[in-house]
């Protein structure tokens, strides 16, 4: 029961704190509309840069040369920069050096297999990090391969010479993602929600510092309450508080700003819960590390802004560079942001290299929470003399 009383009292006190309400509720709601309006152009009609691919044709038959013609098609040239390579190794090197996204390989027996009625496919060697550019290339090759199979059927029925025909469907399949990417208001709805969730670690810092560094802590510790009851009560209270504020932001932004929050509310709740737990324990850890709630609040405010910037929360960062993306992964704010974007946009919106899937990012929040909690316990043991 003590856990529940401490938790409810923590929630009540946080909601009474006008400063906390401003920073964790009104400010994010305001920022969504400000940033969503001011930076709208960054999200409108994004032009996709040409994609660099390398190409190795090992087939000396007629179908191989048909694929050459296909790649020289104007519509393909608008999308792809094709560089011919002499070997698979050369292609791999270009991919590893980030000079190409994929290697397209027409195997030696491609024409032969097509003629004999066997399945024949043009192979794609991709970077190990999947993104939308790989998907575009796969779409193009799929379209061609399916065209090849159609030709195969024709060959069997008509026994005529086969030749390349243009497939207008290629372009259509590439741009079919329209409507599945966030607008500015949607993006900043997510990023400001994450900012609010993460900056709530300040309340956790304050709540914990009461027990350890403030005058009222003597009375709390003198009461017949076990240490774990106090800790769990405070953690639970902060998590509930952050979670409720998150729901308010989502509902308000959905109804008033028409922010797209998708339909997977269970997953949204899971990400929010994971972020709230992380945020709370992060606040506790910083407080115990610096030995003061006020100092911890200052540090958390600075860190949270840096993390939000790194995660692309203030300005969208589009990069397929692995190093840059790794840098983004240093920000814990990146995890819930990416998880939210993946869930709401069904994995279609990937503007950075992602090292994990949605559950991976959620798990990362829990792993960090566990490590920070361990750190908190170690520091707490040293602080109590």
């Amino acid at each position: 029961m003590n856990i529940l009383y401490i938790a409810l009292s923590t929630v009540k006190r946080n909601f009474r704190d006008k400063k906390s309400l401003f920073s964790s509720l009104f400010m994010p709601i305001l920022m969504i509309i400000v940033l969503g309006t001011a930076l709208n152009s960054a999200f409108q009609g994004q032009k996709i840069d040409k994609i660099n691919v390398c190409y190795l044709n090992q087939d000396s038959g007629s179908q191989g040369s048909n694929f050459n013609k296909f790649l020289e098609n104007d519509e393909i040239k608008d999308i792809l920069n094709v560089k011919k390579v002499a070997s698979i190794e050369e292609g791999e090197k270009l991919i590893n050096d980030n000079k190409a996204i994929s290697l397209l390989l027409v195997p030696e027996d491609y024409s032969e297999k097509l003629k004999s009625g066997e399945n024949a496919v043009i192979q794609i060697y991709n970077t190990k990090y999947t993104d939308y550019k790989n998907e575009i290339i796969e779409n193009i090759v799929d379209a061609y391969n399916s065209g090849g199979n159609t030709m195969l059927t024709d060959a069997k029925l008509n026994a005529k010479d086969l030749s390349y025909t243009r497939y207008n469907s290629v372009n259509e399949s590439i741009i079919s993602t329209i409507g599945k990417v966030p607008g500015a208001i949607d993006y900043y709805g997510i990023s400001m929600l994450v900012l609010a969730l993460m900056s709530s670690s300040i309340f956790a810092a304050d709540a914990v510092s009461e027990d350890y560094f403030k005058k009222v802590g003597i009375r709390i510790k003198a009461a017949p309450v076990k240490k774990y009851e106090r800790l769990i009560g405070k953690i639970l209270g902060c998590v509930i508080d952050i979670f409720i504020k998150g729901i308010i932001i989502i509902v308000f932004s959905k109804l008033v700003y028409h922010v797209n929050w998708g339909g997977s509310f269970g997953m949204i709740a899971l990400i929010m819960l994971s972020s709230a737990v992380y945020s709370t324990i992060f606040g506790m850890f910083v407080t115990m590390a610096v030995g003061s709630g006020n100092r911890a609040s200052g540090i958390i405010t600075i860190l949270n802004n840096v993390f939000t910037f790194l995660a692309g929360g203030y300005a969208l960062i589009v990069t397929q560079d692995v190093t840059e993306s790794a840098l983004m992964h240093l920000s814990p704010n990146f995890y819930p942001m990416t998880a939210f974007l993946n869930v709401i946009y069904s994995n279609n919106y990937k503007v950075n290299v992602q090292f994990f899937n949605t559950f991976g990012y959620i798990s990362m929040l829990w792993v960090f929470s566990a490590l920070l909690f361990l750190g908190f316990m170690v520091l707490e043991g040293r602080r109590i003399k």
Partner: protein, 310 residues
């Protein structure tokens, strides 16, 4: 004995804050723990309550070992910390109710006890106010209300009157007496010897983490052989009168200064009436008399060579 401490030691690295301290407190008494700032009084209290880890020693409260029965023992203790220890974002009522819940009070009993605590401390009509709106004295009273809501058997008050006006101080001192009359044992920690003298039946004086004297007020005063000092304010002072007083048995010194006469006698001389007769015989009128008796302050001064507030 309600509290028994044996050989309590508390160190902070090389500094010994509590040095092999042993003491006993009887049930139903107001026990005074006196000493200058930094004497180790608060550290002793914190160590007794398990708020600081002790290095060695045994603490027994209500006949039970504190190390093994901490939660059970704490349930019957109320603490009034030196600083105001309340939540500023909860009203007085909510503060008292919050701590009442931590001590196991629920439902109607909780409501009753909160109202009682508010009434006892004179805060009932301001129960919906936040502590920030209270005067220093009212905050001190709220500090006490939070400690007594669960009607503890043992109340520990650590400097409960620091920095407040005389009226609030009197209110608090009367509250302490009333709590004691209602059956609570009180440990009253202070560096104000007047309060300790007024309230406590038994007193322990601490300095540098050690007990330097312990016993009843009378026991402590008898430890030091102090002279008795009498200061008289007269209508006029003459040398014949001074010479006569100097001849009275037990008088060690008689010092005239303007219309004042300071007479220092040996302890227990019982010569006040003879001094007054001498003055009357000298055609002078007594305007005022101040008799200074041995005090706890004097005891501390004699034992340590320092004043309590040094």
């Amino acid at each position: 004995m309600i509290v028994e401490i044996k050989n309590l030691v508390k160190r902070y690295k090389d500094f010994i804050a509590v040095d092999n301290l042993s003491l006993s407190i009887k049930e139903g008494e107001i026990f005074g723990l006196l000493g200058p700032n930094g004497a180790g009084k608060t550290t002793t209290i914190n160590t007794i309550l398990g708020l600081s880890k002790k290095d060695s020693g045994i603490v027994t409260i209500f006949g039970k070992n504190m190390d093994k029965n901490e939660e059970e023992i704490k349930r019957n203790i109320g603490i009034v910390p030196q600083d105001i220890a309340v939540f500023n974002d909860l009203t007085a009522y909510e503060n008292i109710a919050f701590f009442g819940r931590l001590y196991g009070l629920r439902g109607n009993l909780l409501k009753e006890r909160v109202e009682e605590a508010l009434e006892f401390t004179g805060l009932l009509d301001r129960k919906k106010d936040y502590p920030g709106k209270y005067s220093g004295g009212m905050q001190r009273r709220l500090n006490i209300a939070c400690a007594i809501v669960h009607k503890p058997k043992l109340i520990i008050m650590d400097e409960p009157t620091v920095g407040i006006d005389p009226q609030s101080r009197n209110h608090i001192l009367n509250s302490v007496k009333k709590l004691n009359e209602n059956g609570s044992t009180v440990i009253y920690v202070s560096h104000y010897m007047e309060e300790i003298e007024e309230l406590c039946t038994n007193i322990t004086i601490m300095d540098h983490g050690k007990i330097i004297a312990s016993g009843s007020k009378e026991d402590l005063k008898s430890l030091v052989a102090l002279d008795e000092k009498l200061t008289l304010t007269l209508s006029n002072v003459n040398y014949t009168m001074v010479d006569q007083i100097k001849k009275i048995s037990g008088v060690k010194e008689c010092i005239p200064e303007d219309r004042n006469l300071t007479v220092i006698s040996q302890k227990g001389s019982r010569n006040l009436s003879r001094i007054i007769d001498s003055i009357n015989n000298s055609n002078s009128e007594i305007v005022g008399i101040d008799v200074e008796k041995p005090s706890i302050e004097g005891v501390f001064l004699t034992l340590t060579g320092r004043k309590l507030r040094d």
